[in-house]
Amino acid sequence: MTALLDPTVDEPTRQASLASKPAGHGWSGPNWLAGLAGWFWLAVVLVPLYWIVITSFKAQSDYYQQNAFAPSSNPTLDNYRLVLQNDFLHYFVNSVVVAVGTTVPTILLALMAGFAIVRGARSRLLKRIHSLFLLGLAIPLQAAIIPIYLVIIKLGLYDSLAAIAIPSIAFAIPLAVLVLTNFLRDVPRDLFESMRLDGANEWTMLWRLAFPLTRPALVTVAVYTGVTVWNGFLLPLILTQSPDRRTMPLAVWSFQGQFQVNVPAVLASVVLSTVPILALYTIGRRQLVSGLSEGFGK
């Protein structure tokens, strides 16, 4: 790794390094264009986020008068108070219930399925099931929403939180199975064999071996599923009706209709609805970013 730090090192030493850009003969210093683009885009990403946060602390009257990009000179929590007074916590709990009610069953079912697919690799039926899950990645939720609506009505689940969670599980399973299967394949067969010789059955192997070993992948899947469901809009929009059942995205949307020109209050609801996700992201970030970017970039 010292080769990385020393710009005068010769070519052969560099070959082992992970650096993708050697300072070789054809290069003329750092890549300014790409560098500029990288930091410029960071600004593009951050400016709206910055605006959301500072504006959510402004009094409505200040919002119209002050410089839009300056933090308020007399910050206030009134907007947050207003949002909380409008049943925000109720919607928040709805979202938590739906997110947990989707994520936990998804990872349990997908772990079992992935385990079966990897352990039963010689079974033709399991191979078929695996390909079916892979095809499932291509099913757009919108296209299936009308029959889902029909099924949910027939089951008597319309306008309940379960109506959101159950289809969410079905649509989260393909990616979860894919990630977990890829992960389980890397577990050395010898580990399973030695457990089997010790008299363990498949069910024990699943929980005592596969479950702890796949924990990083489970975190990735859980965070990804959790974020997707937390932000889901279509299922709650179609499958629920009463304000009692609102989840975060629907709540933010209805706040905009309710607060109208009170932009700071609307933005306070945006902030409050995003904070849990940011917390989750902070927990699972390392695995999520590397899992997704390396998984896709192969």
């Binding site: 560099r14 992970l18 993708s20 850009k21 050697p22 070789g24 054809g26 290069w27 264009l33 990288g38 885009w41 990403v45 709206p48 919002y63 936990v104 990872i107 079912l109 399925a113 079966a116 039963g120 010689r122 079974s123 039926l125 399991l126 079916l132 899950f133 919108q142 296209a143 299936a144 929403i145 009308i146 889902i148 159950i166 079905a170 399973i173 393909p174 089997r196 008299g199 363990a200 059955n201 024990t204 699943l206 929980w207 005592r208 974020v227 937390w230 932000n231 809009f233 279509l234 995205p249 949307w253 905009q256 933005l267 945006v270 609805s273 940011l278 970017s293 896709f296 970039g297 192969k298």
Partner: protein, 308 residues
């Protein structure tokens, strides 16, 4: 998130465990996931095809309607219009996102010190819900109370969501804002896997930066470009929440993509039959594009698909 195995996971000594290593006993473990997946994803997909031949108002009984829905949807210029708008969103968002994502990906791959920091912030837009993003930009772009009047800038004080061309531009911008970071992360992962020796050979041959980029980086990224483009293009078919909250398809019908057209017919006008026709078209268009892009990748892309 469960971190502990449920009580059922207690190890049990099983005298017949020796035979359990065969594939038979594990099959049932795949069944619960399969059942949920079949009932709420696969069957609905088949069901929507069936429903496209029926008449149903969303509440009452379902009647067979033959090919009536298909005939009426295809004879109506709305379909062509939403197909066109969908195509525009797809094309423009691809054209804007791809070059910027590649450029950013290459940059991030070469920045060891800042890569981690950039990745943290680049990921944040992906975490916000489309509804929250749409609500935010709607406020930000408001011609009376938004950013333009706030900064006293007449250039920024446009009727952003009231003019068809501007509204389309706003949608493309927001989509790029949200998804470019994700795609640039994909690209940076791929750039880091390009064999170092290729760059050294190019440097020995005296190739400049541009030349190296065009003849080494870009061709090496071929499969990644296909993967990322598939995600972008197929993903753009499903921009529903963002457009629904931002413009609701307006002004007029200028941003009414297929998914919105489906919603409008089905849950707005209570005509589930014609809405199902649109849903089937949505599936067919998505599949056609995904398969077409896959063909572009040639036969060697099996490993690529495994990576997805």
């Amino acid at each position: 998130m469960t971190t502990d195995a449920p009580p059922a996971a207690r190890p049990r000594s099983n005298p017949r465990g020796e035979r359990a290593g065969q594939h038979g006993p594990v099959l049932w473990m795949a069944l619960p996931a399969l059942a949920v997946f079949l009932c709420f994803a696969v069957l609905p997909l088949i069901g929507v095809f069936a429903l496209s031949f029926t008449r149903w108002d969303g509440l009452g009984p379902i009647h067979l309607a033959g090919i009536g829905n298909w005939r009426s949807v295809f004879s109506d210029s709305d379909l062509l219009h939403s197909l066109w708008v969908t195509f525009e969103v797809m094309l423009y968002s691809w054209l804007v996102q791809t070059p910027i994502s590649i450029l950013l990906g290459v940059f991030m791959a070469s920045q060891h010190r800042y890569r981690a920091v950039l990745a943290v912030f680049y990921f944040i837009p992906l975490l916000l819900s489309a509804a929250a993003i749409a609500v935010t930009f709607k406020a930000l772009l408001d011609p009376n109370f938004g950013l333009g009047p706030g900064l006293h800038s007449s250039l920024l004080t446009q009727n952003w969501l009231g003019e068809p061309a501007l509204a389309m531009g706003v949608i493309i911008f927001i989509v790029s804002w949200q998804f470019i970071p994700f795609h640039s992360l994909i690209y940076q992962g791929a750039v880091r896997q390009i064999p170092q020796a290729l760059y050294e050979a190019a440097a020995l041959d005296g190739a400049g930066r541009m030349r190296t980029f065009l003849s080494i980086t870009l061709p090496q990224l071929k499969y990644t470009i296909i993967t990322s483009s598939t995600l972008m293009v197929v993903g753009s078919l499903t921009f529903f929440d963002l457009i629904f909250v931002l413009t609701a398809g307006g002004p007029g019908d200028s941003t009414r993509v297929l998914a919105l057209d489906m919603y409008r017919r089905g849950f707005g006008a209570n005509q589930m039959g014609p809405a199902s026709v649109i849903a089937v078209i949505l599936v067919i268009v998505g599949l056609a594009i995904a398969l077409g892009l896959r063909r572009l990748g040639g036969d060697a892309d099996e490993s690529q698909l495994e990576g997805i």
